[in-house]
Symmetry: C7
Subunit: 247 residues, 7 copies
């Protein structure tokens, strides 16, 4: 970094001469400081997974919440600054609940995502606050009037841009994981295949087997549910990804 | 850049000694960081097109929204900071809807454009926020009391100035594309000719053929509709602009 | 410029040791960055004219609005930062309309001008916003209770000072144009002579003939009307000021 | 000026170590940048006069307003930043009108002056705005319950301090003019003698004869009226102060 | 002064490392820039006096108000920044009037003083405004339920601290005057002896005789009244303090 | 620390280039400046303990409050800036009380914790305030509809992140104490064993025996109660941890 | 002090890298700039005393208020910035009065103290104001439902932390006085012994005898009363602490 960059990177509401918003780019670095989360869209649902760093055996790994149910048909996986992510999740839950009460039906995945990104964008343009140092993967299943299901997977980034993905990752080593996904993703997999893919991708990122305490998995097909620790262990074992000695 | 310029370029609400607003000029650079969008006005409608960068095969190119329907007779193409553009589009949609409800008729293209630019200007004069790092091409067809149609094409820039064009471009390499348009635009073309022109212009800017996933096209003649991926592929093929191996 | 000046020129609400407001002076430079506008007061009305830079043949020159009707008897010509001028014009229109509704008669030219300059002054004294980088020529015809007409011509500058003129110019090369006017203005001309004068003055400033697309002309005598492109071409031709090849 | 002073002169709401308010002192310099105004109190009324710089023969000298009627019995002459002075005059007019409506009698000269100076003081103590770069001479005639008249002459300065004078000057070369007044003022002159005195003083300041366009004169005895251009010419002529060739 | 001090003296709401508030100390310097005021408490009343600098023979010395009646039983003498003092006096008058209306009896001297100092303190702790650059001597006579009179004399300083004195001075050379008072004050003098004392003290500070135009005197015993110019001249003469040639 | 870090560590609402929030990290240091607090979760309740520095024999050690009852089933131990911790405790009490009134049942431990951390997070993102320099251990026992008890132990840190623990420490030497706990914690101990564990851990951190005045202990099983000084002395004695000569 | 410290000590709402709040520490220095106050808790009441610096024989020492009655059972002694202390006292009085009106009984000493410290803490965390440069000793006697009395003595410091003491001092040389108290305090003295202790401690701090004008003493046993000057002289004399020649 040089003095030129430093002249423009300490205010959220200024552009650099080449049109960049440095505080937003630094917030993206905050996302990369968090452990990785992965999402995969299948033909029958969406799979979200998050790796967790358990820094002490006394820390309850279940208490490290990186997967969050938003509504029956909707969940998110977060990465980055934990407290910021929690705040976005709270915003999203209130928004989804309000929408459901107003229209008497679940909020569709895309408008939900955009409500979140609009909220995120405001913190990049107005003075007096910093951007959110967190990104979300939003997974959900919409049901149309004919009862047809449509799984969707979105990413919200610190600039407030929404992206739709078949499969992607956010957080530490997101590029490694995304490359793995690009190589190994078969279009429109089943959620079962999706679970295998996300766990393989996380193991790849770590370059070592996983313990069930270090990973959370949620499936929306079309109802949100999280895999318990036993189910995670079994799956890891069946995929030959279980760390030796994992409880 | 020199120290002289640096002394005046970090506050949105100050002029430099030669009367320039540097933050607005840097916001124009933010627009040029986004991929190019093109608009052409024909005698029977307006054509908008946007090129898209699909950085991963897993990214849903349909989810990269650079064309936005505002009302039946009105659409915009954006360039620049995506989240800022989304916010302007939201502002515009609410404004057009409010206007329609109040006067029971569609909002004409020019007042719509000026409502947007007035909003943009405020962010260049008041302290506490940065300018919008996004530009819009506004295309629409007005209908007068006699039922006559009048296609219009406007640009909104980060300073909050509206421009009316026969054809123009915003975003990366906008000067190259505009030069192509100046050479190849025949006054008052049909929208069919307009579609050909915008696609040729985009191909020129890229200096290579296009895949249908990398470009979006909308026609307002006088009703807004977007070309599907098949229609885009066919058109590219018929113009001999289709990239080899494009799906 | 020296360090001494730089110490005082970045805040709108501070004086320099010699009692100057640098940001206001820089805003005057912003006015000079815009193309020139001219106004002439005659015995039977006021003439306003504005030159325009058409940077591309695809740009609709009619869309470059530098003349603005405020009310039937009142119009303005602007120079400087286009978006700022538009905002002042909007302020003026609302103000004139409110006044007309309240008193059931048109707002006189002088109070209208002072309402605008009061608004402009606030942006030079309060913190949190920059001055307006635009100046206006306000032309209008007042009618007294006996039905007598009185044409008036005012200038509003970025400090918020109103000036009354027989004829003057704002914008690029305003000094050259004003010098031409001082030499060639006969007191109380007819509006026809006024049209000739403004066009000659604009041609003088450019040092070359004019095309009708590059100049707008409005006459208030006592009702505001703008000359169409044909009328402009004919007048230029009759004055031997028409550029060769102008459409 | 040295670095010591620069450390304290850019904020309106800080004292320097020796207890000075530099921004207020710089605002006094802004007053001295304006052309001079003079006031003289006589036994039968007050005379106010202002010199004007007419920078172009096309500028309407009548439009340069430095004398302002506040109420029938009350007027002010201003010096300094024109737009700031206008704002103070507007404040004063509203204040005098409100007072008249509330108490059904004209506002006395001293309370009027103090209302203005209180307003001025606020801009020297609160942050977020600069001081007013203008001073006023307030002249008026109070009438007591017995119908006796009492002429008063006050000055308001940028610090918000009111001063009462027999005769004084504000603006460029105020010291020269005040010295002339000190030498030539006879206590309690007639307004006629006052008119002569102010014109002589202005001519002294300019060191050359005056044209009637370059000076405005108002008399309150006890009703405010301004001398027309003819009356000014005649008076200048009779005092042998008329510039050669003045219209 | 050194760089260490400069680091802490430009914000009203910060302490220096040794616990000082420099802006308050600089405001005390502003008080010392004003001419001196003196107060003496007698057994039958309080005497306030103020010296005035009359910088021009045309300036009405009566218009330089440094003594202010607050209520029948209460007055103040000010020193320092005149406009700031006026503002404090206005605050005090409104406060005393409100109190009288609410409780139907005059406000006692001590609570009045503390209402003023509380107001002053706020400007030393909150950001966005500077401290008051003025001090007041508050003199008054309280009457208890039995009708007994109690004269009181207080000082308010720029920090917002109230002090009660038998006799003291504020403003230029306050230390010289206070030293004179300490030497010459006999406890519980009569107001007549008090008048002599304050005038002697002021003459001492000037080191020369006084003219009656250069000093104001007020007595509260128990009703506020100011000595007229004749009474002042006579008193000065009787004390052999009258300047030669004083009118 | 280098200049690079200093460029980003003085504003709460900016990220450093590597995505860190320095003010939050410095607030964590403020926590470490406070004496240590410990929490242990047992199968039948939670134990909280806090060590205290009694800097004078005249200081009432009982008055140093580091354990705070929130509700019958809920308590917290604090570390860091005492006044900040008190403020968080006040926030928590009001929150728990409001919740109980609204739903007519005690607030569960996890939502209580998250209400606190949400409050803490706001002070890390909005401008105009610093983060809280305090951390809390939240201990409580939830009762479900079947009457089953569930002890919970959480930590809130200055970033606003909630962590769930079996046993942990905050404050000075938290790493030493946590290491002791990791070595000596048997899963799901009884509260009696928990009391022994926390006292041993505190003694370990001090590397010397304890006096009952230097430590507070609270047990929630399921009702909050604090051990009196006698109980503390007895327990320390029974554990052979009592300092010689401790009262 | 070094540059490192200076980087963090000019904003109230930032932490230094080692977790300190420098502005709060500087406010503690402001407390030490004030003369010392002492408090002692006895079994039958609380004694508060304050030394005063009488810088002039004309200054009314009674007017230097460092002891303040809050309610019948409650008083405070202050040290530090006098105007800040007065403001805290005003806050406390209003708070105690409100509480009494609401609950129809006197406010207990501990909640009163914490209301004050909560108020103080806010000024250390929010931007836009500086901390209070004052500390208080709060002394009072609570009466429980059985009519039993409980004397309490608290300190509030500039960080907003409450401390409970048997005896302590605040202000200049507080460490010397506190050391004297630690050596000479017998637990639960009578208020008579307490009065002797505080006066001996103050004399120790001055290293010389005291005059009754230089010290104030208040006793709450259980009703607040201040010793008159005669009582103070007698007590000093009986303790052989009376300065020679003291009135």
């Amino acid at each position: 970094m040089n003095g030129q960059q430093q002249a423009y990177d300490r205010g959220t509401n200024i552009f650099s001469p080449d049109g960049r918003l440095y505080q937003v780019e630094y917030a993206r670095e905050a996302v990369r400081r968090g452990s990785v989360s992965v999402g995969v869209r299948g033909h029958d649902g969406v799979v979200l997974a998050a790796s967790k760093r358990v820094r002490s055996p006394l820390l309850e790994s279940e208490g490290i919440e990186k997967l969050h149910k938003i509504d029956d048909h909707l969940g998110v996986a977060s990465a980055g600054h934990v407290a910021d992510a929690r705040r976005l999740v709270d915003f999203g839950r209130r928004r989804a609940q309000t929408d459901r009460l107003r229209y008497d039906q679940p909020m569709a995945v895309e408008p939900f995502t955009k409500a979140v990104t609009d909220h995120v964008q405001e913190y990049t343009q107005q003075g007096g606050a910093r951007p959110f140092g967190a990104a979300l993967l939003v997974g959900g299943v919409d049901t149309n009037a004919e009862g047809e299901l449509r799984p969707r997977l979105f990413e919200t980034d610190p600039s407030g841009t929404p992206y739709e993905w078949q499969a992607t990752a956010i957080g530490a080593n997101d590029d490694v994981v995304r490359e793995y996904l690009e190589t190994n993703y078969d279009p429109d997999p089943s959620v079962d295949a999706g679970v295998e893919l996300v766990l393989s991708a996380l193991a790849e990122a770590r370059d070592e087997p996983l313990s069930p305490e270090e990973v959370d998995v949620a499936i929306i097909d079309p109802t949100y549910r999280e895999l318990g620790v036993d189910a995670r262990r079994e799956t890891l074992e069946s995929l030959d990804l279980l760390a030796d000695g994992a409880s």
